[in-house]
């Protein structure tokens, strides 16, 4: 660790000469806080030499102002009252560094998120700001110069999730020469995109653009692809994560399986009986199966829930016979745990589709010919259960089809958010259904949302093709026939809000355009990787505009629909961004860590060892010869547990020393 120059320590011991800088943040702060009053108030506080306000303190002129004052007025402490330190603490610390002051002699006062954005009364907001500024002035006087720690970065990257976002991120990194571990929960990569037939608005075939990338992942020398696997533990910190990955047994030795599928043909079940997960139950598979023809890796998997050998132990094992000398089938396979070390992590864990059973008035699960949009993707897919022909569950072909938008989106009873992709994929499905069946197709929408390159043009094209658009939220789908033409069909009842009357439209097939939801285990995953979720359950980005793929945990990035509803182009763009962010960190070769470590004052330590088991990072050891505890600064994460736990109060934490905190509290409470 670099030493703090003695001159810096000297200057910090001098009598405090404090500069206070109050930011207007345009009208964000100045609109509710009386900034001039704060400046005048601060100028009179003990130790304050200069006190100023400025429209945008974070701008170049604002920064120059502080830098200039430090030189001119010989400031040795600086307070910036502006936004959250999450946003600009680093900015202003750089200002201090440039001016030759130690960066940690700065204190930020958050008068935007904590004051102006949450108060309506100007007088109260201004008084609160005064209290906070007074607290900061008293605290900053006690600040000591600190030095950031530098740690090296492990250049390997973990990518979690093998959908299009994870695939793209992994390939980008691998092409740039990084070692990538790609972990996917399912037996194959490909995610939702692999299930789609065509993609909007260009109508290029999803398989044609996705499967080459999947194959590239499978064969890339720098990508370790672990399918049917899950991350179970993450330890460490930016640049140095230790990760445990559980590899579930597929009862097939991946290195030996050629993907010939002779075992599938030979399985004692002559007929496939189990719902095929990849086809969403629209077709059947055997207990030994390849998830889908273009699966990567091309390795079969055995489902122990349905395989006779697992259920009774008395199967003839014709699959083993068929495999012959390759001996790839291993019923005794156990799960294994792989330990890896990586420097950065990209989460691309995707989404789940809304389960329309929660909207019972649309009859999903009750009427055979009500489908989800994802089921229809499989139904019209050339490699789907009907080879792309639209055959209804009751065997017929539809003459009229209703597509209901916003199922599980924009609905106070289920999910309030717009799922963003449904309008466009509904248009795509309308086009494909009309093309394949010649049916009359009705779209029932609340608003058509088609922003995106070529999207509105695609909507225009559908209007020209004669697809019907009815503006209104569908009330119900039922088989209640009031007219002979409705007999045996599904009747969609909807208020046509443009024509201002209630319509009954009989159709043969209903497609529910289901929205996107966070994965059901998103909360577990976020805890595992120590990141945050929005209230809806989407992974939270560090900043919605300026740090869209970063998280509040350094070195952990997010990409794709795990962060919020997203279409393929956006997911790929985010994946590329996340890969670039990871590379920026790796190529810098080291990362600076905050110096907020704990330290022991040896005179006071009684050697009671209370702190040693408390430390979650094993950073505290016991010095036998001195009979004192010692903290390893490199391992310490600054969690503060030992500080609170020490019975003699002999452990302190940099930047959060007791006297600093007490001084701050007294400052808040000292009504002037």
């Amino acid at each position: 660790m670099p030493e703090i120059p003695s001159s810096a320590i000297e200057s910090s011991r001098e009598r405090p000469r404090i500069g206070v800088y109050v930011c207007h943040c345009g009208t964000n702060i100045a609109g509710i806080v009386d900034v001039r009053a704060i400046v005048e108030f601060a100028a009179k506080l003990p130790g304050v030499v200069v006190s100023r306000d400025y429209k945008y303190m974070c701008s170049d002129p604002g920064q120059a102002l502080i830098q200039q004052d430090i030189a001119e007025h010989h400031l040795n402490r600086v307070i910036v009252a502006s936004c959250s330190p999450l946003l600009h603490e680093a900015t202003f610390r750089r200002v201090l560094s440039r001016a030759g002051l130690n960066a940690f002699l700065l204190q930020m006062v958050n008068i935007r998120e904590h004051v102006s954005w949450v108060h309506l009364n100007q007088r109260e907001a201004t008084e609160k700001t005064k209290d906070l500024v007074r607290a900061a002035v008293r605290r900053v006087s006690l600040h000591k110069p600190l030095q950031k720690r530098r740690v090296s970065i492990n250049p390997h990257v973990l990518v979690v999730g093998g959908g299009i976002a994870g695939i793209h991120a992994a390939l980008t990194l691998a092409e740039a020469g990084k070692q990538v571990y790609l972990v996917e929960r399912e037996p194959t990569i490909g995610g939702h995109m692999a299930k789609f037939d065509k993609t909007f608005p260009t109508l290029d075939c999803a398989a044609c653009i996705l499967t080459p990338k999947m194959t590239a992942v499978g064969s890339h020398p720098r990508i370790h692809l672990w399918t049917y696997s899950e991350v179970v533990r993450v330890e460490g910190y930016v640049g140095n994560y230790k990760v445990k990955v559980r590899r579930k047994p597929r009862y097939v030795i991946e290195d030996l399986c050629l993907g010939c599928q002779e075992c599938v043909t030979a399985c004692v079940y002559k007929e496939a009986k189990n719902p095929d997960e990849f086809n969403l139950g629209l077709s059947k598979r055997k207990p030994v199966y390849l998830p889908f023809p273009q699966a990567v890796p091309q390795k079969v998997v055995i489902d122990p829930q349905t395989c006779i050998q697992f259920k009774s132990g008395k199967c003839k094992k014709t699959c083993v016979e068929a495999c012959g000398d390759r001996k790839a089938i291993d019923f005794t396979q156990k799960e294994t745990i792989e330990d890896i070390e990586v420097g950065t992590i990209i989460l691309a864990t995707g989404f789940k589709t809304f389960d329309p059973v929660r909207n019972p008035y649309y009859g999903y699960g009750r009427y055979a010919n009500v489908y989800t949009s994802l089921e229809v993707e499989r139904l019209i897919n050339a490699s789907g259960p009907t080879a792309g022909e639209i055959v209804l569950r009751d065997g017929g072909q539809p003459k009229a089809v209703g597509i209901i938008h916003c199922v599980g989106s924009r609905d106070a009873n289920t999910n309030r958010w717009c799922s963003k992709v449904c309008c466009m994929y509904s248009l795509k499905l309308a086009h494909l259904i009309k093309e394949r069946t010649g049916a009359e197709v009705y779209n029932f929408y609340i608003d058509m949302r088609t922003p995106g390159k070529g999207y509105e043009e695609f909507y225009d094209r559908l209007l020209d093709e004669g697809v019907h658009f009815v503006r209104g939220r569908v009330a119900e789908v039922s088989d209640w026939a009031t007219h002979p033409s409705e007999k045996g069909r599904l009747v969609i009842r909807v208020e046509d809000t443009l024509a201002a009357f209630v319509r009954r439209i009989p159709v043969d097939m209903v497609v529910l355009s289901v929205g996107m939801e966070p994965q059901p285990d998103a909360q577990d995953v976020r805890r595992l990787f120590n990141i945050s979720c929005s209230t809806e359950g989407w992974f939270l980005e560090r900043h919605p505009k300026l740090a869209p793929v970063s998280t509040f945990t350094e070195g952990v990035y997010i990409a794709g629909a795990c962060q919020g509803p997203k279409d393929i182009p956006d997911s790929v763009a985010q994946a590329g961004a996340a890969a670039a962010e990871a590379m920026a960190l790796i190529d810098a070769q080291f990362v600076e860590l905050e110096p907020y470590t704990a330290f022991i004052s040896e005179d006071q330590c009684s050697g009671c060892k209370t702190c040693i088991p408390l430390c979650p990072y094993q950073a505290i050891s016991y010095m036998e010869e001195k009979k004192k505890a010692a903290i390893n600064e490199v391992l310490c994460k600054g969690c503060g547990t030992c500080v609170a736990g020490c019975p003699s109060g002999s452990i302190q934490q940099n930047f959060f020393e007791d006297e600093e905190i007490f001084e701050e509290i007294e400052g808040v409470l000292a009504y002037a």
């Binding site: 019972p360 008035y361 009859g363 009750r366 088989d479 209640w480 026939a481 009031t482």
Partner: protein, 291 residues
Amino acid sequence: MKYAYYPGCSLRGTGRAYEESLLAVFQALEIDLQELEDWNCCGATTYMSVDELTSYALAARNLALAERDHMNVVAPCAACYLVLNKTQRYMHDYPDIKLVVSRALAAIGLHYDDHVQVRHPLDILLHEVGLKAIAAKVKTPLKGLQVAPYYGCQIVRPYATFDDQRNPTSMDRLLEACGAKIVHYPLKTRCCGGSQKGTLPEIGLELIRHLLTEAQNNGADVIATVCPLCQFNLECFQKEAGNHNHPISMPVLYFTQLMALALGASGEAIGLQRSLIPIEPLLARKEIAYA
């Protein structure tokens, strides 16, 4: 099994046949019912829309009485069932409502601690007695009787506690166990018009007409209901709902009347003679020789 029986006003008024048949069914299946002592108005829907708090207090008094006697409540009337359930939930979810209601109860020396279950006969018959036990006690199977099962709104909305909200099947299964044939009836939870027939007669009549014609079109001989108001609406306005070309004459019975017949009760004992549209000729035609 012993329950506190809460008749409510309807079962002593327009719904007397419901009470008579319900008691017959429970007796045949050996479920002990003890009328809740000194019960009062449930605070039903009309009261609820005028003065909510008083309505909760009224309902809560019944709950408190049942709790004092350590019994769970059986509420056959759909409106009572809903109001008692709603009161229980609101007292549980909203501390300020609980506070005011508890004070009102304390004034008459009662209190309520949320220990009572309010259950509907459909729920008890299906989940406590079970289809097998019922089928075993059937003496007169309702063979060939085509029934449209009509649930109405209140026992499934907003609280679908024991059945599917949009497609309830508890009554279907109970009547099937008694040998009846259930016809397809997609309107089983749609509005009967409630009190609209009194306030907006045209709208009320239109809703009633939908329910009756759909039952007729799907080949029902009889509509089975769980609610005195539904029964009243569907039975009383058939002449108005039909017309010269499409007359409607459809018996509307409580599901308990059909069950009681199957379990061996006599027509008189379960109030068949109270119906405006008699079912006896139909039963004779179908050769269902009830006691």
